[in-house]
């Protein structure tokens, strides 16, 4: 495969329609409604339990937004890593764009970045791995199109774990 053009992504709507989804969305709405007061952690649980497309998708967008902030903070603290991290950061940005509906999630706050570059890379690797595993687990309750997208994002995350490991070596 020759190297393709630079990433240029159409915004694609993967939402399914149908009565079952409408029912699920309604349920998600209810659960989100109760859990909103309980904090973000509860909110995530409620959405995952409901298995609603909207909830899963919003959660995926939030996770990507958080990951993007992690990349930016790492590059900010370690400019020498920019060469290795920028292509991966662009990938995460493209994924976030694909996940977003009309409302962009609020910019996520980044975790503190270790002053040691190698430790900082380790934390990015852990973040990518954790998210890739979470997305695999989320497949079970996801509607078909979203499952396909999440599986791809999870695979891309595993690729990042590999590429970050190479950068670290």
């Amino acid at each position: 495969m020759s190297s393709g053009p630079p990433i240029e992504l159409p915004r694609r709507t993967l939402l399914l329609t149908g009565g079952a989804l409408a029912a699920l969305t309604g349920l998600t709405g209810l659960l989100s409604g109760c859990s909103a007061a309980d904090g973000a952690g509860q909110d995530r649980t409620g959405e995952a339990a409901a298995g609603g497309d909207e909830g899963l998708r919003r959660r995926a967008a939030r996770d990507s937004s958080k990951l993007l902030a992690h990349y930016d903070a790492t590059t900010g603290a370690h400019p020498d890593l920019a060469g290795a991290l920028t292509p991966l950061r662009e990938t995460v940005a493209a994924q976030l764009t694909a996940l977003q509906e009309d409302d962009a999630p609020a910019p996520a706050s980044a975790p503190p970045v270790p002053s040691d570059a190698s430790a900082a890379l380790d934390e990015l690797i852990t973040a990518e791995r954790t998210l890739a595993e979470e997305r695999l687990r989320a497949l079970e309750g996801a509607p078909p199109e979203l499952a396909r997208l999440l599986a791809s994002l999870s695979a891309a995350g595993s690729v990042h774990v590999y590429l970050l490991g190479e950068a670290r070596a």
Binding site: E8, P87, A155
Partner: protein, 159 residues
């Protein structure tokens, strides 16, 4: 391929043509092509990355066999391998062999992404794991990743 009966019956099966069966057969066809393709890769890539080729070849054979069983479990006759496959480009040296390996993995990843969509439960999980393995192998061969492994509609933008 003379065996036309299914594991469960004497009669050639009247198999409902479901999306899950179609996607499983398509993934099987992609694995057949990958097994063939890695034979070509192994012949051209040189000794340095021989172990990686063997690992990939073995992995694709195992997935192929698992998909055969999955098709049988769905009550249908598994897609047979072709005697030979047209390569997407000429493979003459180690560099083109690596490019072919990356290409094979990208194609397999696409088939598994579609299987994730069509399948449920354990079959969906297996397809997602296979998609991940192909995406990582593609990155090993090409040295780079893509934002949406297996999703052709995103034009496989390189990252």
């Amino acid at each position: 391929m003379t065996q036309r009966t299914t594991r469960r019956g004497e009669e050639p099966a009247e198999v409902p043509d479901t999306p899950a069966l179609r996607a499983t057969q398509a993934a099987l066809a992609a694995e057949h092509a990958a097994v063939y393709g890695y034979g070509v890769v192994g012949a051209r890539i040189g000794t340095e990355r021989d172990a990686e080729v063997r690992e990939a070849y073995t992995g694709h054979r195992a997935r192929r066999d698992a998909l055969r069983r999955a098709v049988l479990d769905l009550g249908a006759v598994p897609e047979a391998a072709a005697a030979a496959y047209a390569l997407p480009f000429e493979v003459t040296d180690a560099a083109t062999a690596q490019a072919l390996a990356a290409d094979l993995e990208a194609r397999v990843a696409g088939a598994y992404a579609d299987l994730v969509l069509a399948a449920t439960g354990a079959a969906r999980r297996d397809a997602a794991a296979a998609l991940r393995d192909s995406a990582v192998r593609a990155a090993r061969w090409s040295g780079t990743g893509t934002a949406f492994p297996g999703l052709a509609e995103y034009a496989e933008g390189r990252a």
